[in-house]
């Protein structure tokens, strides 16, 4: 009896000792900053003349009246709503193509996947040139068809969409890989049964492949949504959020507030909003996962 107690006791201690270093590091850079963001969001900005003081929800009140915040939030929603479904659909299409009997599939797969391994900064540099007025690739194509010069990134109407196109290009190949993995796990017997039963390609896709890919679609969607909130590297290079915040995203706005305007209190307030959004996505994900039928 004593022996058993000793064993389980050591089990607890050893378990804790093993996870402790990692858990400490994760809390230091994830849980602790979430808490300190909340606290800092309740204080005023520290200036040379005035120390930071407790101001309650004043920062949040300011946020509600901050037109730029709402604009940035709206931008981020548009950005997510465009990049997520489009890149996922393209990813699925790519995966289906590569999973089929095409020639040179490993080369094609490499082409699709290449943007994934490139740094966003490098990608932004390349695409910046595509969007350059007159000399850029897009304007040259337009010029070929008799179009004029466009300031793609300098125009508030087009800036965000230019970034969206680029991000779709960058991310589709990444999501494709997950679909490819799921497709390869599907038993070829199912496809054969479908063939014998007389289902055409579209019918089979609609009735079997697509539903069976649902768990993957969910996984990829969550990933894509989270990415759309945290991937802002390209803004630094291409638009700096402009013109007039037309292409700014929430995390970039946080970065600007903290490191350009040095208003860390307001940046903390915005961080709380971003964390809340990510938390909501997490909760939705779990709710859906709970409901989703587990096949076999």
């Amino acid at each position: 009896m004593k022996q058993i107690f000793k064993l389980t006791y050591w089990n607890h201690v050893n378990g804790w000792l093993l996870v402790l270093p990692a858990v400490f590091m994760i809390s230091l850079f994830t849980h602790f900053p979430i808490g300190s963001s909340m606290i800092h969001s309740l204080f005023s900005m520290e200036t040379a003349t005035r120390p930071s003081t407790f101001i309650g929800l004043e920062n949040y009140a300011f946020l509600m009246d901050d037109d730029i915040f709402w604009k940035v939030l709206k931008n981020n929603l548009v950005y997510s709503l465009c990049t997520v479904p489009l890149s996922i659909s393209i990813a699925l299409g790519m995966a289906l193509l590569i999973n089929g009997k095409i020639k040179g599939r490993s080369l094609v797969r490499m082409a699709f996947f290449t943007p994934t391994v490139l740094p966003m900064i490098a990608v932004a540099n390349i695409w910046l040139f595509f969007y350059t007025p007159e000399y850029g690739l897009f304007d040259q194509i337009f010029a070929f068809f008799g179009g004029g010069s466009h300031n793609w990134l300098g125009n508030p109407d087009t800036a965000l969409f230019c970034l969206i196109v680029m991000v779709i290009w960058k991310e589709s190949g990444f999501f494709m890989v997950f679909y490819l993995a799921a497709l390869q796990q599907m038993s070829p017997e199912l496809r054969e049964a479908g063939t014998v039963e007389g289902s055409g390609r579209w019918y089979y896709f609609r009735r079997v492949t697509f539903p069976l890919l649902m768990p993957t679609t969910l996984f990829v969607t969550v990933n894509a949504v989270v990415n759309s909130f945290k991937l802002v590297d390209h803004l630094v290079i291409m638009t700096k959020g402009g013109p007039d915040n037309a292409s700014s995203l929430l995390l970039y706005y946080i970065y600007e507030n903290a490191f350009s305007f040095w208003d860390t209190s307001y940046a903390a307030t915005l961080t709380v909003v971003l964390v809340t959004i990510l938390a909501i996505i997490t909760i939705i994900q779990f709710a859906v996962v709970e409901k989703r039928i587990h096949y076999q």
Binding site: E192, V196, S199, L212, H294, Y295, Q296
Partner: protein, 352 residues
């Protein structure tokens, strides 16, 4: 009419010859078993009939029509797969009518066929379940259901029982057989299990290395094996194949050709046809005995050859004993050493 005829079928993948010169006919309304060890080409043959593969050469006819270039759906066949190929996200009912929906069969008709098939297979209470919620036997029935509702007369089965436990396998094979007879289906059934083949088949095609070894009724395969391969594949425990040495030739001189020390044939005797005899025959060493209840298997050594003896009831033989065994001429088969073909003349001198 829905007989199946394969003419001069061969199939190669790159440099591997999977099937060569396959010719056979499966009569309308009969159950034909494709039997053989793994890799013998039996599944490939079935997939060729289904249209899931295309033959390198040769033609396939179903119901008097050349279907060699038709897609599976136009061949009027149904198929049951080894792992059942049930769609995991669809209910039992949806799985069964999957093909009917794909072919735009009217709703009313779908319902009727589903109801009939479910009643026939005892699935009526399980229709709303998902495959994951079913036992192995139930999944098997769903797969059968899918092939029944298609109402085509040819049904192809690819090792349908290999994922079931022994008891269930026996039940299901009786069920499949009675279903086939009741619905008068033409069925081609692939298995590697000779017991399954023997119990279910009208005709068996035994395959080996991409060729047909023998085509016949279960009795023919058992009683008149065309080759030593058939002899040792059919029957459990398998037939003993002995190399005749001087001792054997001398002991059985009344039925074997004379004192030639290495005649160009081998001797096949089924374990159940061996008897322990007092005076005649050959002396063998008992290595081990296995008591199975109804009979006893005695593993013996004769020089460097193994011989298995099957006796009714319990045997008194113990490991280490020497026993004398014998057989009757009518139970003995002679196979040519090089070709493996059975020599039809088993009298005193097969090579006059």
């Amino acid at each position: 009419m829905s007989s199946i005829i394969l003419k001069n079928i061969s199939k190669r993948w790159g440099s591997t010859q999977a099937l060569s010169d396959i010719n056979f006919q499966c009569e309308d309304g009969t159950l034909l078993v494709l039997l053989g060890p793994s890799g013998c080409g039996k599944s490939t043959t079935l997939r060729l009939i289904a249209g899931l593969e295309t033959p390198t050469s040769g033609t396939i006819e179903i119901g008097g029509k050349d279907v060699s270039n038709l897609p599976p759906v136009k061949r009027n066949i149904s198929m049951v797969f080894q792992n059942y190929a049930l769609f995991p996200h669809l209910s039992v009912a949806e799985n069964i009518v999957f093909g009917l929906k794909a072919r735009n069969i009217p709703k009313q008709e779908q319902k009727k066929r589903l109801k009939d098939a479910a009643a026939l297979l005892g699935l009526s209470t399980l229709l709303e379940r998902k495959p994951a919620q079913l036992s192995g036997g139930q999944r098997q029935r769903v797969a059968l259901g899918r092939s029944i509702v298609a109402q085509v007369s040819v049904c192809l089965m690819d090792e349908p029982l290999s994922n079931l436990d022994a008891k269930l396998r026996q039940e299901m094979r009786q069920e499949i057989r009675s279903l086939q007879q009741r619905l008068k289906m033409t069925m081609v059934y692939v298995t590697h299990d000779q017991v399954e083949a023997m119990t279910i088949a009208d005709k068996i095609i035994l395959m080996n290395s991409g060729r047909i070894e023998q085509h016949g009724t279960p009795e023919e395969l058992y009683n008149q094996p065309a080759t030593d391969f058939t002899g040792s594949f059919i029957g459990n425990p398998p037939m003993n194949i002995l190399i005749p040495d001087e001792t054997i030739l001398k002991a059985f001189s009344s039925m074997l050709s004379g004192p030639d020390s290495s005649p160009p044939y081998r001797i096949g005797i089924r374990p159940e046809n061996l008897t322990i005899s007092g005076e005649s025959g050959i002396t063998v060493q008992v290595v081990a005995t296995e008591y199975l209840g109804a009979d006893t298997l005695i593993a013996c050594r004769f020089g460097r050859q193994d011989i298995t003896v099957a006796l009714k009831g319990k045997s008194a033989a113990r490991a280490g004993d020497s026993i004398r065994i014998s057989w009757k001429p009518e139970h003995m088969y002679l196979f040519h050493t090089d070709t493996g073909k059975r020599l039809l003349e088993t009298k005193k001198d097969p090579f006059p």
